[in-house]
């Protein structure tokens, strides 16, 4: 399985993602500079966290128009697996690949801490190795992770089982319905604020994030190659 990690100016969680895929899956993972326009040779795309373009204008607003995003959009349309973590989630929303918006944390603090998430759905390419209702520890580090959408969108997300992770015991940013991560209707694009790539070994405080990468590999193996 071949993973790509697009790197934007200001991305800073790309190396953690590269290590996570290598250490957990021993599969091929390649950093790709944001000027790259051809991602056809990759099976999965992981948009990393960080501060692309310095969060200027809005987090992810400028990265959304980087040349590589056209290929990311195309890959998503082809059914390939796409994850956006933290700033990556913001970029996916700005690009319209996921609904809603991520705004400033309600309490205005930048929270860098371990959180407990509840896995709401196990029928996705990203969570098939978790149990529904399972509580996992995944760290966060963000100042603008407050998921917002209007009531109509929220109803749709709930009806379509698109809410994949919720904050279990304590909502660290004020997000609506305690949402920490969602997927698109087709279930091949996931966005989440917490960093699974920073929870892949006990010495990190939790190895619960490793299961997400295992899920992706399992899905890819069981489903041949995406269209």
């Amino acid at each position: 399985m071949r993973f790509a990690v697009p790197v934007f100016p200001g991305s800073n969680c790309d190396r953690d993602l590269l290590h996570a895929v290598e250490d957990v899956l021993q599969e091929s993972v390649t950093p790709v500079w944001h000027h790259e326009t051809d991602l056809a040779n990759f099976d999965a795309i992981l948009l990393p966290g960080g501060f692309s373009y310095g969060d200027y204008l809005r987090s992810g607003a400028l990265a959304r128009y980087s040349p590589v995003m056209e290929s990311v959009t195309k890959a998503a349309g082809q059914g390939k697996l796409v994850i956006g973590i933290c700033n990556g989630f913001q970029i996916l929303q700005e690009a319209g690949l996921l609904p809603g918006a991520l705004i400033r944390n309600q309490h205005l603090q930048f929270r860098c801490e371990m959180t407990t998430l509840r896995v709401e759905e196990a029928n996705t390419p990203f969570t098939n190795q978790y149990q529904v209702g399972q509580e996992i520890d995944i760290p966060i580090a963000h100042g603008e992770g407050n998921f917002y959408c209007d009531q109509a969108t929220l109803a749709e997300l709930e009806a379509n089982h698109q809410i994949i992770f919720r904050y279990a015991s304590h909502n660290p940013n004020g997000s609506i319905a305690d949402i920490a991560g969602i997927c698109n209707k087709e279930r091949n694009v996931l966005g989440m604020m917490p960093h699974p790539e920073r929870a892949i070994a006990d010495w990190m405080g939790s190895a619960d994030g490793a299961v997400l990468f295992h899920s992706m590999l399992k899905h890819w193996k069981e489903n041949g190659h995406a269209a």
Binding site: R58, E94, A101, R104, Q106, L108, Y148, C149, D150
Partner: protein
């Protein structure tokens, strides 16, 4: 040459924690009469075009595509012709 001034504001239904924080500070300063504060952005763009209709069309598109996140923000703009 046209100068566009675009005002980007949060939609009414969206909580503005920055505005709430500023309101709190204003109360601390003694301005108890302040009941609400909401914070937006002002963006100025110089457009090298001669046709007003074209300038309007470009500002509208620019605002929708980039300057405002239409999920949570509204925008309005003013356009004036300026000598270069």
């Amino acid at each position: 040459m046209y100068k566009a001034t675009i005002f980007v504001t949060l939609k009414e239904s969206v909580l503005d924690p920055q505005g709430e924080a500023v309101k709190g500070s204003l109360h601390t300063l003694g301005y108890q009469s302040v009941t609400a504060v909401r914070i937006g952005k002002q963006i100025e763009i110089m457009l090298n075009v001669t046709d007003r209709a074209q300038a309007e069309a470009e500002v509208q598109a620019i605002s929708e595509k980039l300057l405002a996140n239409t999920v949570v923000e509204n925008f309005r703009y003013e356009l004036e012709e300026v000598t270069a």
